[in-house]
């Protein structure tokens, strides 16, 4: 059974102009110890999805879901008390901006130990020992002294390491990491991603990794779900997605990054024309059709999620026709 099972998750936000459908019925699941990447551009609903899972949506937001099960607990029916028991203890979060996610007025030790003590996993001494152990594990030297330091005394990379250590304090089953390396330098990003992947495999933690960077996704994900305009438009195991991107949006995203050695320097890049549609009010048909090079009349109707070979799904009327034919041998197996 999957650790997390999400079916038809919807998040609506009342805004001045009407109702903003930030997340429009998404399905996905995460297995234990698996790294799922949610990838998409700003406004696609990826962060709203993570906040919904954490129970941290803005108060005015309305969440509905066909199913939202975390290890047998129905999160939609859970009381605030139950949710807060899960939060930090079994589901932890790593935010993008370690400077704003850490409280500048408290020491690192204080913040690292908070959830551990709150969930009564041990006394102060045990919390401190675990904090030191984890800081060392994430590659921070002089860990014991660091506990008395404040966030501003650390570099961005170190702060993000502290955030990772903090997320691991209570040995959660699931970590939701929302763009955790976007604010970092590339060398630091590579080091942090390597560390996160290593720890994830060591502790068997499931991770939902939210990013806009298809380069990062390729290197760390077990499975990928591509989001566009509040929907998952394509989902597949990582290798399958990159080998056969089956939604025109995914193909567009992949082709607009300059590929060293393939894109001639200084040449025109393929851009996806237009902008993301407004999600205020009722959205009808394929949300991508106005930017899609293959759009046809059919696309005025909402496309179903089509199942393709290799556990691959795409929400496009033409997904199966564009995908390569399946070899006979695979069909029969």
């Amino acid at each position: 059974m999957s650790l997390l099972e999400v079916k038809d998750l919807r998040v609506d936000l009342p805004v001045e102009a009407g109702m903003l459908h930030a997340v429009r019925g998404i399905d996905f699941s995460v297995d234990r110890g698996e790294m799922l990447c949610l990838v998409g551009e700003s406004g696609c609903g990826k962060s709203m999805t993570s906040l919904a899972l954490m129970g941290l949506l803005p108060r005015r937001a309305r969440l509905t879901a066909g199913r939202l099960d975390f290890d047998g607990t129905d999160l939609t029916a859970a009381s605030e008390r139950q949710r807060s028991h899960l939060r930090g203890r079994r589901i932890a979060m790593i935010f993008q901006e370690p400077m704003t996610a850490l409280n500048p007025a408290y020491t690192l030790g204080n913040q690292l130990c908070e959830a551990y003590l709150r969930h009564k996993l041990g006394n102060r001494r045990a919390a401190r020992a675990r904090a030191i152990h984890l800081l060392e594990r994430v590659g921070i030297s002089a860990a014991a002294e660091r506990l008395n330091q404040y966030p501003h005394q650390l570099s961005g990379g170190l702060r993000q390491r502290v955030m990772i250590a903090m997320a691991l304090m209570c040995e959660p089953d699931l970590i939701i990491a929302d763009e955790p390396t976007t604010a970092l330098d590339v060398t630091i990003q590579a080091q942090i991603l390597r560390l996160l992947r290593e720890l994830q495999q060591e502790f068997g933690t499931a991770v939902i990794f939210i990013t806009h960077d298809l380069g990062v996704v390729a290197r760390i994900a077990d499975r990928v779900a591509v989001m566009y305009a509040g929907e998952v438009i394509e989902a597949a195991p990582t290798a399958a997605l990159y080998a056969n991107p089956s939604h025109p949006y995914t193909r567009g995203l992949l082709s607009c990054i300059p590929a060293p050695g393939k894109t001639p320097p200084g040449s025109r890049l393929q851009a996806i024309p237009g902008v993301v549609p407004s999600l205020v009010g009722h959205v009808e048909g394929c949300a991508f059709r106005n930017r899609c090079p293959q759009a046809q009349m059919t696309c005025e109707q909402t496309p179903p999620m089509q199942a393709l070979p290799d556990d691959h799904r795409a929400r496009c009327h033409f997904a199966d026709r564009l995908a390569p034919a399946v070899p006979q041998a695979e069909m029969s197996s």
Binding site: A190, Q191, Y242, G252
Partner: protein, 343 residues
């Protein structure tokens, strides 16, 4: 046909090939930095001497006209301080900036603004939210007292058209535009004075990838159209490789390697450049995250290590690196400089 499609037509002249170093000797480079340094004093008081932070140390660079010079390096390495000095937003402690061979020292900021203009990273904070786009883009013209209000308005309209903004955008405020459109406004504002040099400080890092491609295409088109010279500061190596003719790599306030795109990407010689290139994550599944082999010791610009500034993180450091700072010197091919004892 819009002005934009006009300039992207094949009839537009291709970018001039990278000028060999000999050719640039005759004509002064569009922008030249000679031993540029900026030091800040930290702490200290009436009777106490503060510590000195060398944000930028003895940076020398030549950017030939019509070329794109990339500048990469991690946050805090001095890239933005360097950009600020070029824009006249902060005065250098030492060294000179030459535009077309003429020193900028003493030139007032208004004169400077005619030659060098910036495009900043965040189009959300670099545009005044209460002004209409027309006012934002036209402000430089108004400040310099160029043209009548009507002429200004025509020039603004032409410029908005050139950067691919619809006519109605002129009457809108930044809040009504998307991120990509705002960056187009920032580009229009930078180019309205027809500067020769544009400092692009991470111009696409706040944008979505699909929009990033549009903006990069626009920057390349405008460069060809106006023969612009860019200093392109970025952390995205794929973008840098796509866009630049030459590249300078900065570490702790110093250039540690400089060369043509082919030299740097084909044969990086400084261990830091090598690590930077290794940490670029291309969308190739199955490769995993590379171990870039750097030590974790993060540099403190106010207390730089003795010897080579990179030695605490360098996998190749030896005794000599702890004592002597390697000079940035020509090695092998002309025009390629590197500061490493073992390059």
């Amino acid at each position: 046909m819009s002005a934009l499609s006009r300039i992207v037509s094949p009839a537009a002249s291709p970018s001039p090939p990278s000028a060999p170093p000999e050719a640039t000797n005759r004509q002064p480079p569009a922008l030249e930095l000679c031993g540029l340094s900026k030091h800040f004093t930290l702490g200290g008081g009436l009777f106490k001497r503060g510590r000195t932070l060398g944000a930028v140390n003895e940076v020398s660079l030549r950017i030939p006209r019509g070329q794109v010079m990339g500048l990469v390096g991690e946050s805090g390495c001095g890239k933005s301080t360097l950009a600020k000095m070029l824009l006249g937003l902060t005065t250098p402690t030492d060294g000179d900036v030459l535009v077309d061979g003429k020193p900028l020292r003493g030139a007032d900021q208004k004169a400077l603004a005619r030659h060098i203009q910036p495009i900043f990273q965040d189009p959300y904070s670099s545009l005044n939210p209460r002004k209409r786009i027309e006012q934002i883009v036209g402000l430089p013209l108004a400040i310099h007292g160029l043209g009548s209000p009507r002429e200004r308005s025509t020039r603004v309209a032409d410029m908005l058209d050139l950067v691919g903004l619809p006519k109605r955008a002129a009457q809108q405020t930044p809040g009504q535009l998307s991120g990509g459109q705002r960056q187009r406004v920032a580009i229009a504002r930078a180019l309205i004075m027809r500067p020769g040099i544009v400092i692009c400080d991470e111009p696409t890092s706040a944008l979505d990838v699909s929009v990033q491609a549009q903006i990069l295409n626009l920057l390349l088109d405008l460069k060809r159209e106006f023969g612009l010279t860019y200093l392109f500061i970025s952390h995205d190596l794929a973008v840098v490789e796509h866009l630049v003719d030459r590249l300078a790599v900065m570490y702790l306030g110093r250039i540690v390697e400089e060369g043509t795109r082919e030299q740097i990407f084909g044969n990086p010689r400084h261990p830091y450049t090598q690590a930077l290139l290794a940490s670029a994550l291309t969308p190739e599944p199955g490769l995993g995250v590379p171990d870039i082999g750097l030590n974790d010791a993060m540099p403190d610009p106010s207390n730089p290590p003795p010897g080579c500034p990179f030695h605490p993180r360098c996998p190749k450091a030896e005794a000599t690196c702890l004592e002597t700072r390697p000079r940035l010197e020509d090695v092998g091919t002309p025009g390629s400089r590197v500061a490493c004892h073992f390059a």
